[in-house]
């Protein structure tokens, strides 16, 4: 059995005694994890950190509780968030907005064709709490459902939904208040 026919949930369960099953998880989800990393630290560092996320997953597999959605991605994003924060602690570069949400704005800037949108995003997110920002970006950038984002962040579903709602409302209000001159 190669594992390719198994669901993510079955693979994570099997990986406890057969860690090589994570290779199948890698084939399925490495591109998405890479993009998660690329959005937060830039593609250069994402290349370096991709292996680190999955190496950490080998140790973390013994503690994983598969999500009801059946996807391993919320779990992997949770690990990736820790790896990004660790990377930024090691890095000597200044992270302009915040370290908690783990977004390297210089890296974000590199992949946007218009500096004004980056500035808008920074302002919109700056008014949110760290938990609000993280749940908003996991849903908006990574395409997770609110319940999947809850697992990635270690929150209850109710808390994640509540924070997402608050984040959207406040970020939109901030955007609406912005004047062109302030961009």
């Amino acid at each position: 059995m190669t594992g390719s026919e198994l669901s993510d949930t079955d693979l994570l369960v099997a990986s406890r005694t057969r860690p090589e099953m994570l290779g199948v998880v890698y084939e399925r989800h490495a591109p998405a994890v890479y993009r998660y990393l690329g959005r937060r630290v830039g593609v250069g560092a994402a290349e370096d950190l991709l292996g680190e996320v999955f190496v950490a997953a080998v140790a973390a597999r013994l503690r994983v509780r598969p999500h009801d959605s059946g996807s391993a991605l919320p779990w992997l994003y949770g690990i990736a968030g820790n790896v990004v924060r660790s990377h930024q602690r090691r890095s000597q570069r200044h992270v302009p907005v915040d370290k908690v949400v783990a977004v390297d704005w210089d890296a974000v800037d590199e992949r946007l064709d218009a500096g004004s949108r980056r500035q808008e995003l920074r302002v919109a997110l700056a008014g949110l709490t760290e938990a609000e920002r993280e749940v908003l970006l996991l849903v908006a950038w990574e395409g997770l459902s609110p319940t999947e984002a809850a697992q990635a962040l270690g929150l209850t579903q109710v808390a994640a939904r509540s924070r997402l709602h608050r984040a959207r409302t406040r970020a939109q209000a901030t955007l609406s208040d912005m004047t062109p001159a302030g961009l």
């Binding site: 290779g23 950490a56 959207r168």
Partner: protein, 328 residues
């Protein structure tokens, strides 16, 4: 601006290349292999009825080798990429101590582990800032021995656009003038123009540099060390070079060692040639060459070994002294 539009616009990011995915996969494979060994060992131990503490101790030892690579320490902050202070006595004629394998960590002569070690070293090297594209000279201080001879101290100043200098008692009793810096076929500026994508760099090196008498992979392994040893190779280039080394067939991991002056490192080798590198920053601490018949009287049983003590950019080089005879 609508929030959803803004978030959608800022979500765009490049997909990973096949190389990106292969590098990550090699790291995962190394980790799962070690973990699978641990699972198998615990199973066997359970069948033999070993106690829990014995099982945990043995299982923990299997992951020690991987730990240092996953948690590189802080990067050096001094101008010199080699942060460790050398303790060797300049010009000492005492043979250097042999490198020793750390008894607390298992050696793991498994090819897959080399990928992980070098992947980590490359990553660490690549996260260091900048490079030295505009420096005037690159100075490297090393100690080395050849055969059964005494350990010598060597200082070399490689000039960017001006002549360099060499102070090496085996070559000359004074300071010998050198031509403008030339690093295995590349000028300083050409070194900084080399591709830093490891696949492209390997193609370039195989096409332009490998014309020796040995097989290409041996030449390539030697070239990786030569381009790092006494050159201002920027971190991105060092990263690419270690990634190339990870792919060369026949490269094996000797294990966690201390170099001749006691610095912890990781030793890799291919055939009779090897390197000790610092997994925290990808710097080359030591390189050596052996022979088919090791030299038992020589330090470490090798025919030649160089230990890099300091390296970094400097503003000037000393003037050459009149030509004189070497001391040995």
């Amino acid at each position: 601006m609508d929030l959803d539009t803004l978030l959608r616009d800022t979500a765009s990011v490049a997909d990973p290349t096949a190389h990106d995915l292969a590098v990550g996969r090699s790291a995962l494979d190394a980790a799962t292999m070690i973990s699978a060994r641990r699972v198998a060992w615990v199973r066997r131990a359970k069948r033999r009825g070993l106690g829990l503490s014995a099982i945990l101790a043995a299982a923990a030892s299997l992951v020690l080798i991987i730990g240092p690579m996953l948690n590189p320490g802080p990067r050096p902050t001094s101008a010199s990429p080699l942060a460790a202070t050398p303790t060797a006595t300049p010009g000492s004629s005492t043979p250097a101590a042999s490198p020793t394998v750390d008894k607390g960590e298992p050696t793991a002569p498994v090819t897959l582990n080399v990928s992980l070690v070098l992947f980590r070293a490359a990553t660490a090297a690549g996260t260091q800032p900048g490079g030295w594209p505009d420096a005037a000279y690159w100075r490297t201080i090393s100690s080395y021995h050849q055969g059964t001879g005494p350990t010598m101290r060597r200082t070399i100043w490689m000039g960017h656009t001006a002549a360099g200098a060499l102070k090496d008692p085996r070559v000359s009793s004074g300071i010998m003038p050198l031509e403008v810096g030339f690093f295995d076929g590349f000028t300083w500026d050409q070194l900084y123009a080399l591709p830093t994508d490891s696949r492209a760099l390997e193609r370039k090196l195989r096409a332009t540099s490998l014309n020796g008498g040995r097989d290409d992979n041996s030449e390539l392994f030697t070239l990786v060390g030569s381009l790092i040893s006494e050159s201002p190779a920027p971190p991105a280039l060092r990263k690419a070079l270690w990634e190339i080394a990870a792919r060369i067939p026949g490269v094996t991991l000797v294990g966690a060692v201390k170099d001749s002056i006691g610095r912890p490192g990781i030793e890799i080798r291919r055939g009779f040639e090897g390197y000790v590198l610092d997994p925290k920053d990808g710097q080359l601490l030591e390189r050596y060459e052996g022979t088919s018949a090791p030299v038992p009287e020589a330090p470490g049983g090798t025919n030649w070994r160089a230990t890099f003590l300091e390296r970094g950019p400097v503003d000037s080089a000393p003037a050459a002294t009149p030509r004189s005879r070497p001391t040995s």
